[in-house]
Symmetry: C2
Subunit: 597 residues, 2 copies
Amino acid sequence: MKDYTAPLADMRFILREIAPLSEVNELPGCGDVTPEVADAILIEAGKFATGVLSPLNQVGDREGARWKDGEVTTAPGWRDAYAGYTEAGWNALSCDVTHGGQGAPRLVSALVEEIWNGANVSFTLCPMLTHGAIEALELTGSEAQKSTYLPKLISGEWAGTMLLTEPQAGSDLAAVRTRAVPRGDGAYLLEGQKIFITYGEHDLTSNIVHLVLGRTPDAPPGVKGISLFVVPKFLVNPDGSLGERNDVRCVSLEHKLGIHASPTAVLALGDRGGCVGWLVGQENRGIEYMFVMMNAARYAVGLQGIGLSELAYQQALWYARERVQGSELGSKSREGVAIIRHPDVRRMLLLMKSQTEAMRAVASVTAAAIDTARCHPDADRRAASQAFVDLMIPIVKGCSTENSVDVASLGIQVFGGMGYAEETGAAQIFRDARITPIYEGTTGIQAADLMGRKVARDGGATIRRVIADMRTVQAELEAAGSPETSAIAGRLRDGIAALDAAVDFVLSTYARDIRRASVGAVPFLMLFGIVAGGWQMARSALVAHRHVAAGRGDGFLRAKLATARFYADHVLTRAGGLSQQVVGGAEGALAIEDENF
Amino acid sequence: MKDYTAPLADMRFILREIAPLSEVNELPGCGDVTPEVADAILIEAGKFATGVLSPLNQVGDREGARWKDGEVTTAPGWRDAYAGYTEAGWNALSCDVTHGGQGAPRLVSALVEEIWNGANVSFTLCPMLTHGAIEALELTGSEAQKSTYLPKLISGEWAGTMLLTEPQAGSDLAAVRTRAVPRGDGAYLLEGQKIFITYGEHDLTSNIVHLVLGRTPDAPPGVKGISLFVVPKFLVNPDGSLGERNDVRCVSLEHKLGIHASPTAVLALGDRGGCVGWLVGQENRGIEYMFVMMNAARYAVGLQGIGLSELAYQQALWYARERVQGSELGSKSREGVAIIRHPDVRRMLLLMKSQTEAMRAVASVTAAAIDTARCHPDADRRAASQAFVDLMIPIVKGCSTENSVDVASLGIQVFGGMGYAEETGAAQIFRDARITPIYEGTTGIQAADLMGRKVARDGGATIRRVIADMRTVQAELEAAGSPETSAIAGRLRDGIAALDAAVDFVLSTYARDIRRASVGAVPFLMLFGIVAGGWQMARSALVAHRHVAAGRGDGFLRAKLATARFYADHVLTRAGGLSQQVVGGAEGALAIEDENF
């Protein structure tokens, strides 16, 4: 595998033109990381990614994390890399300054996180989960909990996890059974089994802080009886030093399709009767807290999708430039050419490139809105930004990850037979990517969230505002008047119309016939994602067009125009079919009897 | 993994209604395998598949084939299974009776082969390659070669292979370098290295008959200087017994993403100067012969795609019925339900089911045409059928295999987190399927073949005839007048129009601007495949509708109608976008400069 390099040119373009960092800098408390500082951060992140994380990606896949007698050893080189990562302060980049974080805007830290994911997604899962635990404790932990855990989680000295899933409780957390019985001294004794716990056990840190969903003895059934507990692997003494080993143990690791270096643990809580935990926030509000964490985690998984797509693209592009096979189509010469010359290979590369750039832009615009929702002095602006963020998170998570599987598959296809051999690394990206549409809520769960909570619940108010913004861009693009901009504008217009029709259907159907509407939930998510990507690519094209028209066009900007054009012609053109699937696709799925499948 | 079971109900439906075996039986020499005989064959094949091949599928993946000192050991149980397979006569089923075959129509043997692939694709690759060798020898071998090799290849006592690929010659066989120098006694000494050789070395048979592409000393450059040679692993004495070990040796096996039990060999020919081979057919006509074999092999890889899709569907369906998670959407009850009740799971299952059935019908109609092209007494009918077969093979190969990757991916998604754990087997199907769009010509190669040789070359004559047939079905369906048939007819009409527009574009552009046309080659292939599938599903719906309307509807027929409806709404609706990609999708891919990707 060729080492990953950070896509700095596109990231700079985004911070300058698409989700301007200068605007985020104007928000209270968001001024420190100026464009110059951000650029230095991205360059340094790129160096660490290329020099340290990327070279460990294939060895991590090959060696995996190993379980023995309850202990988990990470792959060779992993501990040193993690030490380097925390020592350089990377773990604290996005965290609140109150407990030692660096307070970088999400807009910047998201791009940095994409870089980590591109270089080594298995590695990046550890800090990702730690950040979930940090958010939960920041949100609702007591002052004592915050001062005990946050500084060390933020520095990365300790890692954090999320313990949600149980064998009978996957997508449906209402089925959680783990019991938490008060011990009388403010602590609880937990008992239960948790599965699919990412970095549930490992040797990267001296302690692991588990955040656990469980039920107190008198809790009501269902989601309203679930509480959140903090369960450290080692109890923490009042002076902050580590005490007794807690009774939470790793029983086994899953043997998975990919992300082999990320240990996915089965954890037994209280097998010996001594799993001690403390309530976080109020009793029975665990799901509510978990959803806050989960939204951040879902966004972060979206960044995995983008990072993996970028990695797959870089590998395929490298191979397409190296591999000589066949001669130039349409030429009389029979001389061999690099396969990048073949129209079908260009199509595959541009599918990879354009969808990756589209999703990066969508995620970045969402990140800027996360910053606005957190920091804007005006409450209405905060609320409007939060509504936009809530609407977009299922897209960032659902579409980026679904795309990453397709993009990684195209990557294998560009490599041909060599892509099927594990040595090139193309197959690993495909295997690694396949988890992303599953964890932190499957694409089906994202789609249900989008259709129900984010579109139907507010009567379409937020998505209609987004569609209006899309129309403004489309009109500007049409007015720009070049053949490229007009062509892109035309495709965007059709895409918006397709989305609009689907929104009409959702609003008229969801409350009345939720089953009918829900057959189209995933097509609706993909439709919105594709058109949102088209919207951002159209904005990019507009910027590129203006520069090129003013004689300031360079290779990057000309490529951006061509890429936006390709996206419009090959990706936005899927919108019409998806809209038909949403609006008129329920009949067969509802008609077929269960026993006749 | 739950054991695979042959989809007999759908296969019977096909042989009765969609590609009637009774019509094939009327062809000279095709009367022996009547519908009753075919049914008995399919039942027996199903038993062998479920009882013997399917249980070896996961162990084969886990253990793989092992290389040691040039010898390859297949996975535990493999040798017994192969012995059982040949002893029962399965290897001879489709072969010509002249040398011991059973002469079953391709229509029947294709369904049997789909069953083998569904049960265990890694196993089935061995007989598939043997059949390629058989076809080459039948086509052009001398009488002596035929009598030496064919009886034992047909019985399965020996296996066959195809040695095409070299490190510098993958999709482009013009680059083949293997040298073949006459020894003076009619034999040749070969020297070269061949890679990616499926079952290039193994312990299932006492001999392996390699068919090798190479160049004689005075051969012209390019594809017109390539000859075909037969190179047995063990030389064959005049009495048919095995002689000296030939100098063709397995240097290593590839470490692959999937099909672990199928050994993919690197073969060194003549490293010790003694690799003996004999010319097959005429000098310098090797590519021509190879293409005949390859067409058969491409069709066979299409059957792998269908078999794997069926397997993925069966696994997902089983899990969707077993797994209880969440409650019924739209119901007040909070009781847990099997996930098959969830609209999005139904959507996924029907995407899997409908595309599998569509491709099975397309492949079967093509198989019936293969029989007609071989056996019909009228030369014009033979030619017309052959033209149809030639047109459809890129579809059967390209679309079935691309679909199988998507279908296997959906299978993982239905399993959720459990699908990502290797133990369930869903991930294996995904890994195994990923090779199918690559070998025997990538999807890009299939698409180039379709657009150039099969559509542009005859001025669209064959595809226009097919489109006319589609229109007839669409009119019948519209006339049937039920809401389902009208809905399906409407979608088919739109699909045909989309295909027609793309054909117009290809015919007007290909000769004039091959690069512009070729950007859309794969979208064109997928478009034609989707509409061809819709055509066959429409025929199926028409049959089902007539039975149901006449009061003879059963669960299978009601499901067929619902499945056809779903296909029309969720798959045929992609046609419009694909057509736009073909007709108007070249701009960006041609505009972007190589260095600016």
